[in-house]
């Protein structure tokens, strides 16, 4: 038999039917649901008189619209509240394996909640009406975001109409330097391949630096596969994956556990498997990253400078940089370390897990946020992450530094709730998108790792966390 990639294995084991043009019905094992992209899908089911094909595949939570403070006052914005209540009503009517509603202790960002509940398992196909579903590929699961029509299609049929992507191996060999994290690896990869570099591909991340990452680090990396254009990112299963999953609420038990583990151990690319594209990075070359523009590919090292569009020949690229610098309020050739910030956001499905919060807290070391920094928000990814952080005393470290310790949710990653930047405000953010207006109309976002965000909060400007 020919050597197969991990993606080949995951794909072929989920094909229900295949048409002559390669279009397949792909069976979906896990369907994660949140309040923003599901109401129209549930409405579609109702209008057509359909029911979910397999209710036990659905795991749901409310995350995008939920406030991160004053939970006792509920959701003040009436349209946000209606959307969350619509999910409550839909789950009540249609059912789910599990639902973590607003204020539940298991509630959280869907991509933090799924893995911590063991609802995401190796070898699964995982979909969600959310582009950051690529996160779950960290478990050797084939996971990607879908639109609302597809949410309805998966609910009604347990399948997705899909075509196989090409495969890309992104190989990072060697050892990451001190202070260099999975977030920096993700941004460095996007800087290299561009935001469309992975379009049409499923990316497998491999190499010794990836094997050395924790499961949470792998989630950060796969989370940002979509920012490189790839709908799904993958990391092969190893003992770390299996150890992470064991004992979680929805993980298999007893005899099923042993069977599952035996299967999961096969979820690696075979020796000699062919990829359509291979990209290689040396771990030792990767420095802490900071974005300067309005696309995640507009990124450089902390020691770098804002680029000069006059040096760029391609007119579309040059205009893109000029527009980005105008929006960001930055001058060409400004050293990154001289960029002062107004706000800091530590959170999002990229960087709101316990290891992220530990990394941010470790940087603070009894120091205070800088005077020019108006607000530092720390938003844990879920109720369980919050409880864990509080058990470790991290909340006290943050509040002592003048940071705000919030309730879990998507928060200022996309600013659908009340947490947002005001026009012109500049933010060091651990989230995943620095698009115009993403964190609030006119807001200026710089993507960084949790440690770099915490260091910037203390310094008042970007600073190399390794010399901090």
């Amino acid at each position: 038999m020919t050597a197969q990639t991990l993606y080949d294995k995951l794909w072929s084991s989920h094909v229900v039917t295949e048409e002559a043009d390669g279009t397949v019905l792909l069976y979906i094992d896990r369907h994660l649901v949140h309040e923003v992209t599901s109401p129209q899908a549930f409405e579609g089911l109702k209008l057509a008189g359909r029911k979910p094909w397999r209710v036990s595949s659905i795991v749901a939570t409310a995350d995008h619209n939920t406030p991160t403070d004053h939970w006792d006052e509920g959701i003040k914005d009436p349209i946000s509240r209606q959307q969350v209540e619509t999910l409550d009503a839909n789950i009540k009517e249609f059912g789910a394996l599990a639902y973590f509603p607003f204020k539940d202790k298991g509630q959280g960002i869907v991509h933090v909640m799924g893995p911590e509940q063991g609802a995401t398992l190796p070898g699964m196909t995982v979909v969600c009406g959310d582009s950051h579903t690529s996160t779950h590929g960290a478990f050797g699961a084939l996971a990607h975001g879908i639109g609302t029509s597809e949410v309805e299609h998966v609910m009604a049929t347990q399948c997705l109409v899909a075509k196989k992507s090409k495969s890309m191996l992104v190989k990072v060999e060697g050892q990451l330097g001190e202070g260099v994290t999975a977030k920096d690896v993700a941004l460095a990869i996007i800087g290299k391949i561009g935001t469309a570099g992975g379009t049409g591909y499923a990316i497998e991340f491999g190499g010794s630096a990836i094997r050395d990452l924790s499961i949470e680090g792998r989630m950060t990396l796969c989370n940002m596969a979509i920012e490189g254009g790839a709908r799904s990112g993958l990391v092969a299963v190893d003992q770390k994956t299996i150890d992470y999953v064991q004992g979680r609420p929805f993980a298999p038990k007893g005899e099923n556990w042993d069977k599952a583990v035996a299967y999961w151990k096969t979820l690696v690319s075979d020796e000699g498997a062919q990829f359509d594209s291979v990209v290689e990075l040396a771990a030792a070359d990767i420095q802490p990253q900071v974005t300067w523009g309005t696309s995640p590919e507009m990124v450089t090292e902390i020691a770098g400078i804002v680029p000069d569009p006059a040096q760029v020949k391609d007119p579309v690229k040059r205009e893109g940089i000029e527009r980005a610098l105008a929006y960001m309020g930055l001058e060409a050739n400004t050293p990154i370390e001289q960029i002062a910030i107004d706000k800091v956001f530590i959170g999002s499905c990229t960087n709101s897990r316990i290891e992220d919060l530990r990394a941010a807290a470790a940087v603070i070391k009894g120091r205070q946020k800088a005077g020019n920094v108006k607000l530092v928000m720390v938003v844990p990814g879920s109720g369980l992450v919050k409880a864990q952080a509080e058990a470790e005393g991290l909340d006290k470290v943050f509040t002592a530094a003048g940071f705000e310790w919030r309730e879990p949710g998507c928060s200022m990653c996309l600013a659908m709730n009340a947490d947002r930047l005001e026009p012109g405000e500049r933010c060091a953010s651990t989230s995943n998108r620095n698009f115009e207006g993403r964190q609030g109309q006119g807001g200026r976002t710089h993507l960084v790792s949790p440690a770099m965000a915490a260091a910037a909060a203390i310094a008042g400007h970007f600073v190399d966390v390794r010399h901090f």
Partner: protein, 212 residues
């Protein structure tokens, strides 16, 4: 789903690369639980000079005269001409909903982000990939000639310029069939229910933990 066969439509050139779905329809409008009504907020932050929120009367908001969609010559455009990596970012289907609700039926670009590209087909909106040089030519022609229209023929898989120059584009047979006939994809899939059940029987035997 609305069927798509042929279109002769006015072209609006949007000359920026990496247009993301946050720009196509900003997050505050995603709070709606409906599928329709997003057109007035398409490209909201570029199109208006004030800050848009759901529930506003968009007809009285100050328009940004420098944004191409607001040029009188592009009023009623049905073909959006765009640059590379159009529709990147979030999976929000509200982006194609907004484009379709505004009146666009076709988006032409050198490349699209995968999820957006896929979402278009579910809504009778045809995304067409043409080579970068061709798109560049169409940009130049549409800017030079007021009232520039393109003819799109899905069955023939061609885009034709006013001078009669024709460009072929690719589409999978499955998508073409669904779009030409405006088919309900869920209905099509449910017609294969027996195969889905057979797959699940196999799963129950081989990977029982997945159905637990």
């Amino acid at each position: 789903m609305k069927a798509f066969t042929t279109l002769n439509g006015l072209v609006c050139p949007l000359d920026r690369a990496n247009v993301d779905t946050d720009a196509i329809i900003p997050k505050q409008f995603l709070k709606s639980i409906k599928r329709s009504g997003f057109g007035p907020n398409l490209f909201d932050e570029w199109r208006y000079l004030d800050h848009g929120e759901p529930g506003m009367d968009n007809s009285v908001r100050p328009l940004n005269p420098d944004f191409v969609l607001n040029y009188p010559r592009y009023a009623g455009a049905q073909v959006l001409l765009a640059r590379e990596n159009f529709g990147c970012g979030s999976s929000r289907e509200h982006a194609p909903w907004a484009l379709e609700d505004y009146g666009f039926r076709v988006v032409i670009a050198p490349s699209f982000a995968d999820i957006f590209f896929n979402n278009c087909y579910k809504n009778g909106l045809l995304p067409i990939v043409l080579p970068a040089e061709t798109v560049d030519q169409l940009f130049k022609e549409s800017v030079a000639a007021e009232g520039y229209r393109l003819t799109i023929d899905l069955a023939a898989q061609t885009v034709t310029t006013p001078s009669g120059q024709s460009f072929a584009f690719d589409i999978t047979e499955h998508r073409k069939h669904c779009l030409l006939n405006g088919l309900d994809e869920i209905g099509l899939t449910l017609a294969q229910s027996d195969k889905i059940r057979a797959y699940e029987e196999k799963l129950k035997a081989e990977k029982p933990w997945l159905l637990a």
